[in-house]
Symmetry: D2
């Protein structure tokens, strides 16, 4: 039971793969706060099937869509409005994937075709989602768009490889599109820079465990969980944060503001 | 009528001078969201009297305190806990004053005694409030402390003069103390960097009108109002933002992320 | 006649199109400071012919190369070492191009094929240059790599369109590769964020004139010229800046640190 | 023997305590590059005597001055111009001191009188130096002012305590005064954010050794030495960096751009 912060609001949630996904938690929390939502994920990802569980639980529909395909996005956004019975109020973009990382290619020996796929899936998809919504005039006045990102966009974490660039790109799209969407319909666009999170996707990064532990010690409050991130996203979709836009917001237990934690040295 | 976001929470609000004050709006919204509060302001400021109106309306007590006096702060914080019947959950610091600005001294001809008073009142008071609360163990686990600031801490607005430095100092105190308070009791400390706001204090800055208009055009969503700022502070005092700490959060309609707005050139 | 800051150093300069190009000025100043260089540009750009003038004047060779082609880059970098008689000490990347900007597409109606070309030419080429040099072990210990960028990577200038993203990407590559190249050979990698400059490329951006004038007023020292930028690049290629790496360095007359210049309001 | 980068330039160097001081190295390098300088330090610091050695070696004069005293600064700046035979071209501010740190007071139990002294000595002195020079019109057109700072101004290093705030204050003064001095005489003002350095002052910070080692591992190029810092300051005083102003420049081997170094985890 929630506060009713999103009562009457309608939204689309990208990227709920399984119950560990941040998007999964966001979907749950949005519904708990009174929103109606549509879930979407890549057809490939959906074959794994867990998302059906979530849809049943939340009594919402799933529309498969390849976020790199304008056609798929057009259909997704128009159908979602039909299903939900009106324009949208919020969108969560939680998509990221790198073949170079998966294949453990060194950063100094990247495959450029794979890199393009990384950017297409992880970053350009965000522009495509917004451009499609913009053209369909699919978002209500004072709507809110959030994408999940990581501090590798600002600082180097060698094992994160080209995902650093894909997040830098993503955050830049948020700022740039934020201007245009504010002017059109007071829609705000932000990115949430989340602590490393134990998700199926996150854990794929090389050395994730050490990474997670280091961040946990470096963060005065510890790493933020997926649940906490969902709470935070709810505030950003609510009417209480209407003037926050074009920002990259750290939800990381303080990690981003630490230079050195004595806890690291104690070991 | 609110969402109940602060139900059962207790807090102290510094700096409600009159109905235009951001702190005034925050006080109103906190109570609306279910919080119990104590209001405080400098004895001098209180002589103006409007704050009594607010206290009556919100059915809360006022404890005068000079925020530069440790004695006053000790009394304020211990009495507040007595009145509210337990430890505190949140504190708002909304205090700022510069004699050099008031007396229209050029930035290249500042009076250093006045400068020290500016820093003492506008910035060091924030450390004093936190240090006093810390020593009294006055904040509940996962409490939240917010101070209001301005983007002059990052970029130069010549007419803002030494207030730029006082805000840089304030934001640094937030980061530094945020570490220690997170470790002690998971308390988070943040600053909200608000649009120029038509308050009695803000309007004192030379050329405020032009300033306000420029920022309004430069911000894709327009300047954020005091009311909107109060909404935002409510989210930061709520349990939905527990892992946001040591951050400077722009609540400015997008101003901070703009390089140049075509609207400025159109004139 | 210079100071001899680059005496004995060897480098490659990308992107000297004509005498207004920043790369042109950098080439001249590097030679003046004692360096031996190779000039390179895209075969298309070279057909315009002015670069031959420069090569004659500087008594250096030109090697045409498409910076998106690994083959071309491999040849360029190996040949350059042959011609110059040893490993390289510095590289300047000054390449940028956007078809969406040229064709005046709205930012909310971008062509994604063109976008990919923009990123490939303007940003990924930088990674390709470094990866190729890295694999050939072509840079001497304490070498220096610089790419030119623009503040649109941090803040929104709506007319700059997707070039904002291409610069965000470029700067991220600098940080990421900077780590690896430091570890391999103490090579430093930085980006210089230059004032808007009257070049043949820069002037192509919509509303460039207004843009330039605004930046000039907003910058306390005025816009930095291409000549001044060349001087600055010389310091970054010299041995006096060996510990500066993974930085984005503003060379902009103070623009990036201004919030509002009274000069703007005076009009 | 140098490059002649500062030939004919005149400057004042604050803060050369002993041969480990960064200011000491800067003084040596400035003279080597052709500058004439005046050395200054607090009367207390000078009693230790090593500075006389330096003055002899560099054949320059020492003028004792308490950097918190306007009178002393007025005398220093007017006398320096007499001695050097004309207006000044550069100033180095390398002053920092915290009694709270020295006395090992916890950050949550600071003595506020000491804090004020810290800010007065470490930060406000910088404004005083510039204001005094400004009033005397003591700096030549395109002069350059540099102050040394540390990344604790942006991120929390708990043991650095209130020095974090004093550096935040210092950097803000640089931005603010940079505007005014640019307008008056094209003078640029910057801060150099240096790696932890083994100086007599730096080593006083609690846990300095661990601190130094951590930063060294975290920095892809290792910590920058005082000698390297002096080289960098020379470039900032030279005519090759005329359009760099109001910047905080990291001279830190890449530390500031690292999120996590694998080298840290290897232990």
């Amino acid at each position: 039971m929630g506060y009713g912060l999103l009562k009457g609001k309608k939204g689309i949630i990208f990227g709920a793969l399984d119950h560990k996904s941040i998007a999964w938690k966001v979907a749950e929390r949005c519904v708990e706060e009174g929103a109606q939502i549509v879930l979407t994920n890549a057809p490939v990802a959906m074959r794994l099937g867990e998302i059906n569980e979530l849809a049943e639980k939340l009594k919402c529909e799933i529309i498969p869509a390849d976020a790199t395909s304008i056609e798929d996005l057009e259909l997704l956004i128009s159908k979602s409005q039909e299903i939900l019975g009106g324009k949208l109020d919020f969108i969560l973009h939680s998509i990221g994937m790198s073949i170079n990382v998966r294949k453990k290619k060194d950063y100094t020996d990247l495959n450029y075709e794979w890199m393009k796929t990384t950017f297409d899936v992880s970053s350009i998809s965000f522009h495509k989602v917004m451009q499609t919504a913009f053209k369909q005039d699919a978002l209500n006045d004072w709507g809110s768009v959030v994408a999940l990102t990581y501090i590798a966009a600002q600082r180097t974490f060698p094992d994160y490889s080209e995902m650093a660039e894909s997040k830098a790109l993503l955050e830049s799209f948020a700022r740039s599109f934020g201007y245009h969407y504010a002017k059109k319909a007071h829609v705000r666009v932000n990115t949430v820079s989340q602590s490393p999170t134990v998700t199926t996707a996150g854990s794929g990064v090389k050395g994730f465990g050490d990474f997670f532990g280091y961040a946990n010690k470096m963060s005065p409050l510890g790493n933020a969980s997926a649940d906490a991130c969902a709470d935070y996203c709810v505030t950003l979709f609510s009417d209480l944060t209407r003037y926050v836009t074009m920002q990259n917001l750290f939800h990381d237990g303080g990690f981003s503001s630490m230079g050195m934690a004595p806890e690291i040295l104690e070991d």
